[in-house]
């Protein structure tokens, strides 16, 4: 119990998200209509993705400080779940965009941003596969992970200010390029925040499961040190 409380929290919050998210009354704004409920599923993917990629970055830095293969496994597993959430966010976003903007892809800066993020992290996986030596792979991919993260973050801050956006809060719209919490309806906020926390916890949970599998697989290597 002591160690798994956050998993229970994740289950409770996501159950709440799925029931309340579909049942509560939401305000109808413009052509959003009932699709606004996607807010509880699409937007938390981005929060989850950034959180997981940041955790991956921290483990890469830790690896460079103390070369322990465990950190490398942690870094790659969190990055993989980050990629998964990125893909899910892209799919949920495309579905949403089809009904509100009229087409699944409209070169919105945030769409370009996620496409680039996926390319960067796929390249990270390609790089890992290209190096056969385990220690060298860990070192080289940690360096790339850190370098990529610090270029990616400015990118998602620059892009929305340069390209016209359909998302709320883009160029030519008031507010910051992210989500403006103050704009959110009060009842929706009651579901949105738990949804963000729930999805992020679920992502962490998936990563830890993956990490445990990897740790068992590389048991001999890790214990040999």
């Amino acid at each position: 119990m002591r160690k798994s409380w956050w998993k229970i929290v994740a289950v409770v919050l996501l159950t709440y998200t799925f029931t309340a998210g579909f049942l509560i009354h939401i305000p109808h704004i413009g052509n959003l209509k009932e699709t606004a409920r996607n807010l509880f599923f699409h937007v938390p993917m981005w929060f989850g993705q950034i959180t997981l990629l940041s955790i991956s970055l921290i483990y890469s830095i830790l690896y460079l400080r103390t070369p322990n293969l465990k950190y490398d496994i942690f870094a790659v597993c969190f990055a993989k779940t980050g990629i998964l959430m990125g893909i899910l966010g892209l799919i949920t976003g495309s579905i949403w965009a089809t009904y509100t903007w009229g087409s699944p892809w409209s070169n919105d800066p945030k769409q370009i941003g996620v496409a680039i993020a996926l390319l960067i992290y796929f390249a990270y996986l390609v790089l890992r596969n290209a190096v056969p030596d385990i220690d060298k792979r860990a070192k080289v991919s940690a360096v790339y992970n850190i370098f990529a993260y610090f270029i990616y973050i400015p990118l998602i801050m620059i892009l929305p200010r340069m390209v016209e956006s359909l998302h709320p809060g883009g160029k030519g719209v008031e507010g910051n390029p992210g989500l403006n919490g103050a704009d959110l309806d009060a009842t929706m906020q009651l579901v949105f925040l738990p949804a963000v926390i729930g999805w992020t916890l679920l992502g962490t949970w998936i990563s830890t499961l993956n990490i445990r599998i990897e740790l068992i697989r590389d048991k001999n290597l890790l214990n040999a040190e």
Binding site: V126, K136, F147, I151, I158, M162
Partner: protein
């Protein structure tokens, strides 16, 4: 500082003695632009701008790739014994910037010669080209080091680098429009330049911090 200059001098001397690689890249630039000339003469300014920067991107991958790939294992070990990692990466960064500035200058000349000159303000564009090629070579230097460490060729470098160069490339292409006579808001040009310089400094600092980890074996 003395080590940096010594390493830089060695790279430049090597370049002058083994001219085949320099002329190789030069020929690469010339033939690419000649193919462009054959496939479209007199492109629109927007197309001209985009093509110019895409060509710079490919030239940079080819020019910078060999800066680490040409060093053999034994020679790296020798450098390791005579200099620190920081001096080594700084000398490579400076060398790549010089190389890239030369290449960009040549390709700009060829673009003017073959694809006409749609610029209303060529002098500003020369400045922007300088800034852009510095950005390109900075980003690709560390990537070349990573690719060399992974014992891979320039193809891996392109896979790793193309998504990462997007911010600089977008900013530079946007800024270039100032040289095509587009009117910017007050301060927008300075703003964009500041952003590019800021990114460059960040990449520079990251390279200097991260390279020592790649270097140790």
């Amino acid at each position: 500082m003395k080590t940096v200059f010594a390493l830089l001098k060695k790279d430049l001397l090597l370049e002058m003695r083994q001219q085949h690689s320099f002329y190789g890249i030069l020929l690469y630039v010339a033939s690419t632009i000649f193919v462009l000339y054959l496939s479209l003469n007199n492109p629109e300014p927007d197309v001209w701008n985009a093509l110019f920067w895409i060509i710079q991107l490919f030239v940079c991958v080819n020019a910078v790739a060999k800066s680490f790939l040409q060093e053999s294992r034994g020679r790296m070990l020798y450098f390791y014994s005579i200099s620190g990692a920081r001096e080594f990466i700084i000398s490579k960064l400076i060398y790549n910037i010089i190389l890239m500035l030369l290449m960009s200058g040549m390709s700009l000349g060829l673009f003017f010669l073959l694809l006409k000159n749609p610029l209303s303000n060529p002098l500003i564009f020369v400045g922007i080209v300088g800034l852009g090629s510095v950005s390109l070579s900075l980003v690709f230097t560390l990537l070349a080091a990573i690719a060399a460490k992974a014992q891979q060729n320039a193809a891996l470098m392109a896979i790793l680098g193309f998504p990462l160069i997007v911010p600089q490339l977008l900013l530079v292409i946007r800024l270039s429009k100032a040289a095509f006579g587009e009117q910017f808001r007050d301060g927008a040009v300075l703003n964009l330049t500041g952003l590019i310089v800021g990114l460059d400094i960040m990449v520079l600092v990251l390279s200097i911090i991260l390279f020592p980890f790649l270097w140790k074996d």
